[in-house]
């Protein structure tokens, strides 16, 4: 067989010509072709004389050279770069690199949920909701029935005491003002916080002798949770579609059906318990690829549902900085006080609680996975599990969540078979009412679930490389080059603090829109803004700025006028000496 070595880039230029000739050649035989024409075509595509035996043939991959294909490959190169970066903080840093002023994100805050939020929550996080009212069967094997009953008997009275104290004896009238005291949502949050702290300490102190792992758990009080991920399954907004179709047809042709939208979750949990080992998985990764696990599809834009957009940084924080000893989640407490602020006609409190559980658990587990070296573009190689409690002191909901996948960007949303799974129990009342310092209608099942959660022992995952995408250094703190280490540390914390840029992005004023854009009345020496030049300000890259100026008295080298920068790169180049500052486009 003859094989032709063809320069693909050259070939693409002549695509139109070739298609013409093909048509010409495949035309009926009546048409005669001039020999001069044939020679001309052959001069472009020269048949190579080399002959290769069939066994050794290795064809290069066929590359899609359309505009959409090129864009896709460009994205893939960026994903590969993130995978190859060997340090946790650098991976998160790299997510911020494309945007100088931050990403445009859909903001999801805990306790701010629109009407009927559940289908959207499941779709955005690729979560299948298990069809049970109880905890998964795995929890039946955690403790035997006798042990469980004896523990319940031991703890029952103490929990009752704590409840009576918080709901009956505690006098809060002079600690809060009248506005706060009348705000049901606020008071519910206060009660939820106090009750869950009390019950947590009771359970830990009583279960400690038999469950040694509880001594090593780390407690976080009101930690900071922020998660950022890309999602490609939403419809492109009609507004942009039409705009591009009529005003910018070239871009419109290039745009694929799906586009990445960026989500940001901001959580406010009451309590977190962390451990240095992960919890045991409930189902295997292969089972999560089952087609029977369904997810509702809700392609509406998030703004249509009632969420808002803003421009913020890509921050990934599970409550602690990288480097902490206990980096896997064990248990989290959340308040459901926000239900009191929900309009009565919504009548969807059950859905709201489940949606809160899904967002909260997914975000915390996803951020933990990011600290293990995975990201929104690389799936974790092992599942992570979280146990979650949602309460207002009286109503208790228990949720178990297993994270199997984190990739759901535009290129893999349709091909990724894995799903995350969530088990949620019904709302259970811990007690009916409290009268004269006595608890009426105490429900022991709630305590049973609580004890099962605490007695679930974290285990070592044997034969699993926990951090496959990280280098030996793993963290900024282990970098040997002190200059690079200090720069990265400073910049990373500055980036994640979410403070705005020192200079705000340029703005287009009305007079500019009317007198320059619409009717050009300005004289030629009018100083043009980036908008007049057709530059999109928000596409500015993060490293597109002048480096830090070093005053003459502080220079070691006289020629070293500008400070070094160490933005994440795969090949560690020695930074060049910049003779002139890099000015931005405007």
């Amino acid at each position: 067989m003859n094989s032709y070595k063809v320069n693909s880039r050259l070939l693409s230029r002549f695509n139109s010509l070739i298609s013409q000739t093909q048509r010409y050649l495949s035309a009926p035989a009546e048409v005669e072709i001039d020999e001069s024409d044939k020679k001309l075509f052959e001069s472009y595509i020269k048949p190579k004389v080399e002959k290769i035996e069939e066994d050794d043939v290795k064809f290069p991959p066929i590359i899609d050279n359309s505009e959409i294909g090129k864009e896709q490959r460009k994205r893939q190169r960026w994903f590969d770069k993130i995978r190859q970066l060997g340090i946790v903080e650098e991976k998160i840093f790299e997510l911020n690199m494309p945007k100088y002023y931050g990403w445009k994100i859909n903001k999801i805050e805990e306790g701010v949920l629109p009407y009927d939020p559940l289908p959207q929550a499941q779709y955005i996080t690729r979560t299948h909701l298990a069809n049970t009212v109880n905890l998964p069967k795995y929890y039946d094997s955690v403790l035997s029935a006798e042990e469980l009953n004896s523990l319940v008997e031991k703890i029952k009275n103490q929990v009752k005491d704590a409840l009576v104290f918080e709901f009956y004896y505690r006098n809060r009238d002079h600690e809060y003002n009248s506005e706060q005291l009348n705000d049901k949502c606020f008071m519910d949050n206060v009660l939820a916080k106090n009750v869950s702290q009390q019950i947590n300490s009771i359970l830990i102190s009583n279960l400690c002798p038999t469950n040694v792992h509880l001594i090593d758990t780390q407690i976080d009080i009101e930690p900071r949770i922020e998660a950022f991920w890309a999602f490609g399954g939403l419809e492109q907004p009609e507004k942009y579609k039409k705009f591009n179709q009529f005003c910018n047809p070239r871009i419109h042709r290039r745009y694929p059906e799906r586009l990445n939208q960026y989500m940001k979750y901001i959580g406010k949990p009451i309590l977190h318990l962390r451990h240095n080992l992960p919890l045991k998985e409930i189902i295997s990764l292969k089972d999560s690829e089952d087609e029977k696990l369904d997810i509702p599809i809700n392609k509406f834009d998030l703004r249509k549902m009632g969420y808002f957009q803003s421009r913020e940084r890509a921050t990934i924080i599970p409550g602690f900085w990288p480097g902490d000893y206990s980096e896997f989640g064990f248990l989290s407490y959340h308040s459901i006080g926000h239900l009191k602020n929900r309009p009565e006609q919504f009548n969807d409190n059950v859905d709201a609680i489940i949606a809160q559980a899904i967002f909260g658990s997914y975000s915390w587990l996803y951020t933990q996975a990011c600290y293990q070296g995975f990201s929104t573009f690389q799936d974790p190689t092992y599942p992570l599990v979280n146990q979650m409690i949602l309460t207002n002191g009286q109503l208790w909901n228990f949720c178990v969540y297993q994270l199997n996948t984190t990739t759901m960007h535009q290129d893999c949303i349709q091909t990724n078979p894995r799903k995350n799974i969530c088990w949620v129990t019904d709302s259970m009342k811990l007690f009916d009412r409290i009268e004269n310092g006595e608890v009426k209608g105490f429900n022991e099942d709630v305590l049973r679930n609580l004890i099962k959660f605490y007695a679930n022992v974290p285990q070592i995952k044997e034969g699993v490389n926990m951090k496959p995408y990280l280098e030996k250094e793993k963290l900024i703190a282990n970098i040997e080059d002190s200059e690079r280490r200090i720069w990265l540390e400073e910049q990373y914390k500055h980036l994640l603090s979410n403070r705005p840029r020192h200079k705000l992005p340029p703005e287009q004023y009305h007079y500019q829109w009317i007198y320059v854009r619409k009717f050009n009345h300005f004289l030629p020496w009018y100083r043009k803004s980036p908008y007049d030049k057709g530059i999109n300000v928000y596409n500015r890259k993060l490293d597109d700025h002048t480096p830090k100026y070093i005053p003459r008295c502080l220079r070691t080298n006289r020629k070293l006028k500008w400070g070094k920068t160490f933005y994440p790169e795969i090949e560690k180049k020695t930074p060049k000496l910049t003779k002139n500052p890099i000015f931005t486009l405007w």
């Binding site: 505690r170 106090n194 009390q198 300490s201 102190s205 009583n206 001594i215 900024i476 703190a477």
Partner: protein, 410 residues
């Protein structure tokens, strides 16, 4: 034109107008120079007489602002004729510990009582490791980022440093201490752990009379550890107290620095109803934030002032327990009441034990209250990112040892 960042820039015209307004309100002060000079026989001429002869100008004097009538205090619902001396959370006493001793009639000993020293045991390596981990997680690795107070250099006070984001002092201390209490709970066994409970931000208010003056201490206790049983009194009441004398702060009075007000409510406040079974205050944790607790004179804070603050908080906690137990009007207590106190700013720890023997604190004779206080102990020397590396240096195991002993004490 739409409202945008353009308008946020400085408008100098407005500033100048403000300047004119402020200068217009100035009034010359009388420094008594005239009377002094005349007493020394110096002849004084009126400046107006000189200037009026030179030139006469027709200037209209216009009042920029009519004087606002002061708010009538006596119509306030909590107005009292007799003034009261108030002490609140961010106040400090001028003379520190000695002044606090004078107010509360307390005698201070330099060491902790033997009953507590006998319980303190050395920690095992494993617990030391977990304490270190707690310090790291709450002071170094906590990802909370909030705008911190402005940095000031006393040598160049007008210099503006870039503002820093990080963990606030209060958050550091509260996280650290709550985690310590949790660890104590695990280590001391379920019997002791079950008899304790925690309360956050409890508000106490103790009004009392002393030497014909009225006092009112209204303070929040950041963490209040409650217990089922009352703490045993440390030292028995003998007639020893007659030989003990309080230190003097002459020429100052012990009222110095306290805010005097006629608007107050003379009322006891306690954060819960007395029927609760864990009703006795066991230990109080007090946070100290140097950016909020300041001297009125802007002088630097001395160590005795911190001791004084801790003593007064311990006194209010003990006094309110006494009033809960024996009634609001109790003066001589049938049994002394003991409260343990830990004052901290997440690095420096001040341990003290307060024993309230009496609430009759008029004069300097008669029964006195006791207080045992240890000098300052540092939990660590340095806990921060140093050149990009998280470092914890100079960890001191003595601190947690004492917290555990305080927790176990019955």
């Amino acid at each position: 034109m739409k409202l945008s960042q353009f308008l946020c820039k400085h408008h100098i015209g407005r500033q100048i107008r403000q300047l004119w307004y402020i200068q217009g309100k100035k009034k010359p002060l009388d420094f008594n120079t005239e009377s002094k000079l005349t007493s020394q026989g110096v002849h004084i001429e009126d400046a107006l007489e000189v200037t009026n002869n030179l030139r006469k100008l027709n200037i209209k004097v216009c009042n920029f602002s009519d004087q606002v009538a002061p708010i009538k205090v006596d119509t306030h619902p909590y107005f009292n004729n007799e003034p009261c001396f108030l002490y609140e959370d961010n106040d400090l006493l001028v003379k520190g510990l000695t002044q606090a001793q004078k107010i509360t009639n307390t005698i201070v000993f330099d060491t902790l009582p033997e009953s507590i020293e006998s319980i303190t045991q050395d920690l095992s390596d494993k617990t030391n490791d977990s304490v270190k981990r707690i310090i790291q997680s709450s002071i170094i690795f906590d990802a909370h980022q909030q705008l911190l107070p402005k940095l000031k250099d006393p040598d160049r006070p007008a210099f503006n440093f870039p503002r820093k984001f990080g963990i606030t002092n209060n958050r550091k201390t509260s996280n650290l201490n709550k985690k310590f209490i949790q660890l104590c709970n695990c280590l001391s066994g379920s019997n002791i752990g079950n008899s304790r409970s925690i309360m956050d931000d409890a508000f106490l208010c103790v009004p009392f009379d002393k030497d014909f003056h009225k006092f009112k201490f209204s303070l929040t206790i950041d963490i209040m550890l409650m217990s089922k049983n009352i703490l045993r009194p440390v030292r028995k009441l003998d007639t020893e107290y007659e030989s003990m004398t309080l230190p003097t702060i002459y020429p100052l009075q012990y009222l110095i620095g306290l805010t005097k007000s006629q608007i107050y409510e003379f009322k006891n406040l306690y954060p819960f109803i007395s029927e609760y079974n864990k009703k006795y205050i066991h230990t109080i944790f007090i946070y100290y934030d140097s950016t909020k607790v300041k001297n009125l004179t802007e002088l630097e804070i001395e160590e005795t002032q911190i001791f004084g603050r801790a003593l007064i908080k311990a006194f209010t906690a003990a006094a309110s327990t006494a009033r809960q137990r024996y009634g609001a009007n109790v003066k001589t207590l049938p049994e002394p009441i003991t409260v343990q106190c830990i004052h901290t700013d997440s690095k420096a720890y001040y341990f003290s034990v307060y024993q309230l023997n009496t609430l009759d604190i008029n004069g300097e004779k008669g029964i006195k209250n006791y207080c045992w206080a240890l000098p300052k102990l540092n939990l660590y020397d340095l806990a921060d990112y140093v050149q990009g590396i998280p470092t914890l240096e100079g960890y001191n195991p003595d601190v947690f040892k004492r917290i555990l002993a305080f927790y176990k004490n019955q």
